[in-house]
Amino acid sequence: MSAARATVAVVRSERAPLVDTLHEWVTTVDHKRLGILYIIYALLFLAFGGIEAIIIRIQLIRPHNTFVSPQVFNRMFTMHGTTMIFFAAMPLVFGFANYLVPLMIGARDTAFPRLNAFSFWLTAFGGLLLYFSFLGGNGLYGAGNAPDVGWFAYAPLTSRTFSPGHSTDFWILALLLSGIGSMGTAINIAATVLCMRCPGMTLGKMPLLAWLNFTMAGLVILSMSPLTAAQLMLLVDRYLGGHFFDVQAGGSAVLWMHFFWIFGHPEVYVLAIPAFAFASEIIPVFSRKPIFGYPVMVAATLAIGFISMSVWAHHMFTVGMTSAGNTFFVLSTMAIAVPTGIKIFNWLATIWGGKVQYRTPMLFCVAFLFQFLIAGLTGIMLAAAPFDWQLSGSYFVVAHFHYVIVGGILFTIFGAFYYWFPKMSGRMYNEALGKVHFWLFTAGFHLTFDFMHVPGVLGMPRRIYTYEPGRGWDIWNLVITIGVLFQAVATLVFLGNLLWSKLWGKVAGSDPWDGWTLEWSTASPPPAYNFPSLPEVRSRRPLWDLKHPEDPDWHYE
């Protein structure tokens, strides 16, 4: 007993003081710590965005509800969308990319470690500035506080006439800062993939996660630039008397739409491609088979990246484009289903005939396959211009993109959390709590977003503050809100599991999943230098080669 106490005392005395630990984290340029900072920051904003979603849904739970005022409701859906896309989903994706890409390609760090730290802090301060608007957004006119122009902030709503005060300025400046941070991270990821691969790792032997994050980085660089340019133009309009988006002075409101959506639709793939990356790593390991059709998966990813840059105006069918324009964007949007379908078939073919282990990460990925397929199908429906004319701006569209972002992307992110948590923390998560999280969240997701399609088809417009009873929307809105509560409880279970497991979870060891990629060859959590010596690889599954020298992969690749 006394010996045990002595050991504990020694361990405690070896711990650095809190202030030193904080200093280490704040000044770090280590890609793993920055990755974890990104993830923690994103989880914080995920909680904020989630609370805003709950407020929106409580307001809509029944007709004529007055849980919040119309002004607060507008702020809630604006902040929910902005937060979830720019300050939760993107930082989550960047966090995992930061943590995993160097480890998986056998590098000691990213290509530009200091730029990496700068990019993270710029993104983080952008988020803080956005939320500071709740306190400091009144400006000179006392006109509202947080932004309330919707997450895509169409002109002329953003002009000073319709948005007096500074609430919209906070939105512009926060996104400007985080956009520059995102571009810094994207440049870093691309440079790391191109220049920092370990000996033997040709592009054809690179893990799919690295390929997909490389594609994502290219998309960020291409798509963030127009948004940043548009934000600057909007600032010029608001501060310097510019007329870029001022229709009455010869500007164009549609110009903003083009600028926003040429960012906005590739952004969906900025989030989805890393989600595909997680699925492409998790599904093979838990199916105990290599990924089916690696080269085709890479080609399909590049095709998705390429096509996604040419589909933006399907968000604008109701604007009244020419029939040639409509036809082009209908066809290009439908074309993107082909490489996406190839991916789904390849994941299924990977599972097919495998020795499938339904651990929590795999459960999330299997659900992702079904849900992303449905999201894709409703996407094809909305890609048909005549269908879109009927349902654009309705809750059907809201249901569709939440199916993509929650049912597709967030599910694989949860899978990634469970899969790499042992590597990041050195501890195993609680499997039972993981499964409780999965089933609760899946039930909540389907209650909310399956039934959200119905009021959309029945004509319920998105962003509506309240509604008249007797239109057939009442019961659906009640069910949708109940589903959100399921998701909230499930998320609390998830966060509780992470905390509990970090403190008291079973020690994970370096390779709890019998994995095949390089991150599983080093300690959990990995040392700051990642690898004692740079690894040398001969195939896409270097650890398989090491574990099975009698039947290495490089014989077949």
């Binding site: 760090d109 200091r114 500071f132 300025d169 230098y529 010596s533």
Partner: protein, 286 residues
Amino acid sequence: MNIGAFRSDPAMVTQTVEVPASTAWPIVLAFGIMLVVAGLVTSESVSALGGLLAVTGAVGWFRDVFPRERHELLTVSPEVPAVTTGRTTIDRTALAPDRHRIWLPVEIYPISAGLRGGLAGSVAMAMLAIIYGLVSQRSIWYPINLLAATFFPTAGPQAAGDLTRFYPSMFFLAAALHLSTSILVGLLYGAMLPMLPRRPILLGGLVAPIVWSGVVYSILGIVSPVLDSHIDWIWFVISQIGFGVVAGIIVSRRERIPTWQRLPFALRAGLEQSGMRDESHHGGEQ
């Protein structure tokens, strides 16, 4: 099963590793820039403070990397995790060498074989159809008019009695339909024949036409009730089989050409990859 650590060369493992040194300048610069823009919506003094911090951060960062990037040395832990696997091994029963789990079209017929097969099949089918017209209606134009009327009911006569006469428009329509469809089916035949195991002529020439006829029989009543009432199904099946057998014989007589199916995708796509050719040689035998 403990296998070993991931070290290609133990001599390469050093006692210390050089990594970029921690630094506060990136956060100082980022905070400064944030204050500069926040000043636009708060107060000029905030922007001024931000500008000061940003300049300080930028200068500090510059001094961090010039003239030489600042690094710190980390001691390498002597404990390197062992690479292990929990995979259980099992004995595998070898397949007989002449048994294949899949049939890859490693050799195919050239496109011209499909074209010729389709054209030859179309002639055989047309002859059988004309014989049917002579026997049943005493007119060679009956099957031709019937075919054209299926797709273009407004181009010619509607009444059954008129179907025995010659109509130039119906003739050209039917000829175009028959030839184009025959060529397309011939191309499909040429592509699929190498994938059909064992008796390809039997499968492609007999089984496929019967299955196809069954499909048409089941849906034609819905698609075109008029045509359905005029078709003699025995002759229909015979003419389909005639097409299949003749096309199959013509296609199968041509010499096959090898495909790149055995080769890795990267090589087929023209991408360079070191060691690909040697590895493909091993892989191709699997």
